[in-house]
């Protein structure tokens, strides 16, 4: 039903992680399922570039017309970039959650943490359970 790219990793709290080609950088956003639960996104609060965050930390907030939701860091690392476009165009999170709607990029500090993330199939089951 939902749109869950096979090459990404996921958290049960609906963040996705893309390990970039360099193997050192991870991009984080929220899933198609998450944006559809939230509805129209109106504000995104992002971490500061340079901040060191640990897996499971609150790394930001996404606010829709309907609700506010925390964004958790899927893995530990230093924030090396944030998506500043979201300040003016928060609706990108709704229209392109996996592309231009990304939130921030981390320099991965512990690659072992990647093993704890879900693959697309496991995450699809989370969404499925959500729907019932």
């Amino acid at each position: 039903m939902s749109n869950i790219p096979g090459e990404l990793k996921y958290l049960s709290s609906h963040e996705w992680v893309r390990i970039e080609d360099d193997g050192e950088t991870a991009t984080v956003g929220i899933t198609f399922h998450a944006q559809s639960l939230l509805g129209d996104v109106v504000f995104v609060e992002l971490p500061e570039v340079g901040a060191n965050i640990a897996a499971g930390d609150e790394a930001g907030v996404v606010e829709s017309v309907k609700a506010a939701s925390d964004i958790f860091a899927p893995i530990s690392g230093e924030v090396i970039a944030i998506n500043e476009e979201l300040e003016d165009s928060p609706e990108t999170v709704n229209s392109e959650p996996y592309e231009d709607g990304w939130f921030f990029k981390l320099k991965i500090s512990d690659k072992d943490e990647l093993a704890a993330l879900m693959d697309a199939d496991a995450y699809a089951e989370v969404c499925e359970a959500d729907a019932h």
């Binding site: 509805g39 129209d40 504000f43 606010e63 017309v65 309907k66 609700a67 506010a68 609706e91």
Partner: protein, 362 residues
């Protein structure tokens, strides 16, 4: 599964996301709540409000009954079809519900909230015992609100046989013809109509409006529109724990004169003693969204006093957040709100925030 209006299938056909609302399966949105909001502010949108309860009050005592039942005075309705907004109070002056009453050619018609239907009907039946009146529910009528600057023209084009009647309506007036009733009322702060339609005609009319370019809108945009318009939502902004004087509804209470009504004594006593709390508008022009139940902090010379947001949202028209909040009467033109553990400064204003597409608060 909840109750379904006669338009339920039409909503699914239009891609509605359906949620439970007061026991009814109603559309929340048809894709984007924000877009629906803008359609109503800029052109036209329509809402299925068939879940609302319509009750006709008939009989020789209908006028004295309503003068006793309601805080506002139906004697203000001197012109046929004219509508009046009123609270229905208990003996303590607390709000049982808010409603609209129309002066029909014979007698009166009430439109009350769906979530309070059973409570309202029981209360009205109880109060009616002393009067020679009959209460007749009208479940056979669907109700469609068509709202926005282009709404009335669109309806006239779809219902050319009734165009003249529609044109003759003044603001807050409704007229019936051939089983249809056109009311120049709404819950959005825009011009438009609320149309009572025989259930059998509802789907065809809805599809006709849709074909004419009237955008289907769900409860999500209905809420942001009414909040921008500074209109209370029963169950959020007022309920049986507060009086209309504490709910920015003093204008709906006709306290002067000899007329007695349920709750009058309590309201006079409250007025005499002075109010502690008031419903005001809050505006947050920086980032963040004000939401229901957030704590409001009012700083006075003698310390901090607490209030609470009763409804809050991002305002799509203004591009920042607005709210209604019950706050201590000591409040000045600024106060603080606790948003997710952080205090932010907000302005205190008199609602409404938006009317006819434009910012109106000062």
């Amino acid at each position: 599964m909840g109750n379904k209006t006669s338009l339920y299938q039409a909503h699914l056909d239009s891609g509605a996301k359906v949620v439970d609302f007061g026991g009814w399966d109603m559309p929340l949105h048809y894709g984007s709540q924000l877009e629906e909001h803008h359609f109503v502010r800029k052109s036209s949108g329509m809402f299925d409000v068939s879940h609302m309860t319509i009750v006709d009050v008939e009989g020789p005592d209908s006028r004295p009954f309503l003068r006793y039942l309601l805080a506002n005075d139906v004697d203000k309705l001197t012109i046929e079809g004219k509508a009046l907004y009123s609270g229905m109070l208990n003996e303590e002056g607390k709000v049982l519900d808010d409603l609209i009453v129309y002066r029909m050619p014979q007698d009166y018609r009430l439109v009350v909230n769906c979530a309070t239907r059973e409570k309202d009907l029981a209360w009205m039946a109880k109060q009616a015992q002393r009067f020679n009146v009959t209460l007749v529910e009208k479940p056979e009528l669907a109700m469609i609100a068509v709202q926005g600057p282009e709404a009335i023209d669109k309806v006239k084009a779809c219902r050319s046989e009734d165009a003249q009647l529609i044109e003759s309506l003044s603001v807050f007036q409704g007229k019936e013809r051939g089983g249809w009733m056109y009311c120049r009322t709404g819950y959005t702060g825009e011009d438009g109509l609320e149309i009572l339609v025989p259930e059998a005609d509802a789907v065809a009319f809805w599809k006709q409006l849709e074909a004419a370019g009237v955008h289907p809108c769900g409860l999500g945009s209905r809420d942001t529109l009414r909040l921008e318009a500074g209109m209370n939502l029963y169950g959020s902004d007022m309920d049986e724990s507060v009086t209309p004087l504490e709910s920015n509804m003093a204008w709906t209470v006709a306290l002067d004169g000899a007329r007695d009504f349920i709750g009058k004594r309590a309201l006079l006593a409250q007025k005499e003693a002075g109010l502690c709390m008031r419903l005001k508008g809050l505006v947050l022009e920086s980032r963040g969204v004000l939401r229901g139940h957030q704590k409001v902090i009012v700083t006075t010379e003698s310390g901090e006093l607490a209030g609470e947001i009763t409804s809050g949202t991002f305002s799509p028209t203004l591009g920042y957040s607005v709210a209604l909040a019950r706050v201590p009467t000591e409040v000045g033109d600024a106060c603080e709100v606790e948003i997710r553990g952080k205090r932010v400064q907000v302005s205190v204003v008199a609602p409404p925030f938006v009317r006819n597409g434009q910012r109106v608060y000062k």
